[in-house]
């Protein structure tokens, strides 16, 4: 029983005179309780897939089934974390996090209250009244995370959430995301994360969907099956990483 299923999803765009197929006949599914990573070189349509799942754009052909229904509009049970953070620069941390609740019709006071709770969860207590420009990159992305989980989505979509951050910050944030994922208080059913870092995928995911570029097609699906917390130095970790590397390189040649 899958929560989310893509069935032969194809997406083409019209660029001036030519038709470009960005995603070609992609099929995979995400089960409840699964952390799935989409891995592939840049330009393989990973982000396009996330946008289709969130219901911002629609497939040219094929279907996306969410909880037995085909997606026909913005998916209210999903939330997104952006590579660029996409925070509202004129709102404080707390207002940013509470915005999603306000949009759902919650009263402002209650929304701000609930926002506080999730700001604490991502370790930003004390920064509630700061503006995004006063925060470091890592802290901004924590706000992005808090904003996403505050609306208590079933699926968390993450679009290269760590690509704009420095390497040390990334190491910390990866573990914190895993902690949030394993936090029983958060009613999250699944995570779908897009990344171009193979190590990151192997470190975080239960299942990795490997893609090729132009057009974006699925090369392979790999179940990671390592216990958490994972160790990047471990031999089995390295083996899985190597397999994915060779898959991608082979496809390119």
């Amino acid at each position: 029983m899958s929560l989310l299923a893509l069935e032969k999803v194809t997406k083409s765009f019209q660029f001036e005179e030519t038709q470009v197929t960005v995603v070609k006949e992609v099929s995979f599914n995400v089960k409840p309780g699964e952390f799935v990573c989409l891995v592939g070189p840049s330009g393989c349509g990973k982000s396009t897939i996330l946008k289709m799942i969130s219901g911002l754009i629609f497939p040219t052909s094929g279907r996306i089934i969410y909880d037995n229904n085909e997606i026909a509009g913005v998916n209210q049970r999903a939330a997104m974390v952006f590579q660029s953070f996409a925070l509202f620069p004129w709102l404080t941390v707390r207002e940013n996090v509470a915005l999603g609740l306000e949009a759902k019709g919650m009263m402002r006071a209650a929304a701000l209250d609930k926002a506080n709770q999730y700001i604490d969860k991502v370790g930003l207590d004390g920064h509630e009244e700061a503006y995004p420009r006063e925060l470091s990159g890592g802290m901004k992305q924590r706000v992005g995370l808090a904003r996403a989980i505050t609306v208590e989505p079933e699926v968390l979509l993450m679009d290269e959430p760590f690509s704009a951050l420095d390497a040390l910050t990334v190491l910390n944030l990866r573990e914190e995301v895993i902690d949030l994922w394993q936090d029983k208080e958060i009613p999250l059913k699944a995570v779908l994360m897009v990344t171009h870092s193979i190590e990151e995928a192997v470190f975080m995911a239960d299942k990795i969907v490997v893609m090729s570029t132009r057009p974006g097609e699925i090369i392979s699906e790999i179940n990671v099956g390592l216990v958490r917390p994972r160790n990047m130095k471990e031999e089995r970790f390295q083996n899985i990483t190597d397999i994915i590397y060779s898959l991608i390189v082979q496809k390119r040649d």
């Binding site: 998916n75 999903a78 660029s84 953070f85």
Partner: protein
Amino acid sequence: MQKTKQWLSGTVFFILMIAAIYLITQKQLLPSPKPKFPTALSNLPYYAFYSFSRMFFAYIFALLFSLLYGLTAALKKGADKIMMPILDVLQSVPVLGFFPAAVFFFIGIFSGRLGVELASIFLIFTSQAWNMTFGVYEAVKGIPKDLKESSLIYGVKGYQALKKLYLPAAANRLVYNSVLSWAGGWYFLVATEIIASGSTNYRLPGLGSFLVITSARGQIGLTLIGLAVLVTIIVAMDLLLWRPLTVWSEKFRYEFTAGAAETHHSLLLGLFNRFRSTQVFKLLIKALKQIVYLPVNAVGVLINSWLLYYRRRQGVQLFFRFIGKALYWLILIGLVYIFYLSAAALAKAARAPIPTDARLIPLATLASMGRLAIAYLISLLWTIPMAVKIAGSRRAARFLTPFFEISASIPATALFPLMIVYIVRYTGSVNFAAILLVLTGMQWYLLFNLISGATSIPGDLKEVAEMMGLKGWLYWRKLVLPAIFPALITGSITAWGGGWNALIVAEYFNFGQKTFSVFGIGSLLDQATYVRSADSSQMILFSLVFMIAVIMALNRFFWRPLYNFALKRFKLEY
């Protein structure tokens, strides 16, 4: 310390300017018979030629001025502390108010037609030059430090640096601001021609005066043909000169400052894109390059080799140093002398009895501000939703943008005669007509600033909002309004600037025998100019000074703080 110095140079300049106006307007104009103005269609090409020539000469002067002034301010150490506040004063002054003074001045030196022509060219020049100068200054100041350092290390100096570093750095902004200045120039060209045709002593034959006189004589058909000719010239200039130049100058942008200027080529975009790939276009670009480069290069090489040759001779070096020193002292003495003259003139003005009409000035300014405020609110009401609509939908943009750009490219002043005729005929309210005229002088600044503000809302912010289900008032309050706020303020500042100028033409409109006027600072100023009496020059002086003081106070104590707040709080960068 720095601040006071800037204040000081601005204020001193302001006083000098006032005094100069006073001195100039004290001269009496000699009455001369009003020249005839034939409106046969066969005369139209001449009128078009006259108008275009005025624009052309004014632009050439503006170009030279902007390069000289802008480069000096940017490159000479400490110069900008004095030069930029002066430019700031000049820019915030409503140019049209100075037309009477300019006419007096130039007729005083060159009597008759030549004087009026020069006054018109001077006025167009003042409407174009400041904006271009700011462009040059900011572009040269904004050259990345490592680029400047690397040219120092490689020993690029003098003319070489000018050609390889400063001019290319300024090219993009200069072209971009030239397009704006050129468009603004049409507005003022037509305005001066209209103002001149209201006078009893002189006249400026041209498209603008053709429009006024034909509509005053009820020859509406001819007015429309005149308008069509004007629009054709404007569009042709745009397609044949400004678009190619803009595209050419894009290559001088640094990669890392890209983004802000993406919306350049949208007028008749499709047509232009097709045109762009043709052989004709490439040839045109090549020819333009040659026209610009050849003389510049020739002069540059000459100066360079000449410098190289003479630099080694001590005598010549000493001679130039002496010339430089002498010039410096001459300018200083000249300034002191002007200052003395100004002080004397002001003292005299202070001693003279204040004209009885002068007490009307504050109330008149208030009335004019009221008109501006109403026109501003009307502009806001339609431009904000329109800009957001255009930014949000590609289809709306495709249909509406060319429409608005063509409408905006018609200088609003050219529509004044027709509008006056019809609005006053059907509503009977000159006040309503004046507000509408001011509106046409304000709205486009707001619209285009808002469009660029609204299109620069980042896509992912819009996506977040969509995913959250942010709708209605909440969507406007949390996303749209904050995001366009800086653009709104910039647009408002320029719109008010345009509005003050429009007032001068809108509040007092002379139509042959008939004169339409409403009570306001613009009409006081115009009246003092046209209906000469003993205290006319004092009235011109007082009205101008009061109006400029109000405008500068508004800028400094209202718009500037608001602008700073907008930048601090609502800037889109993270």
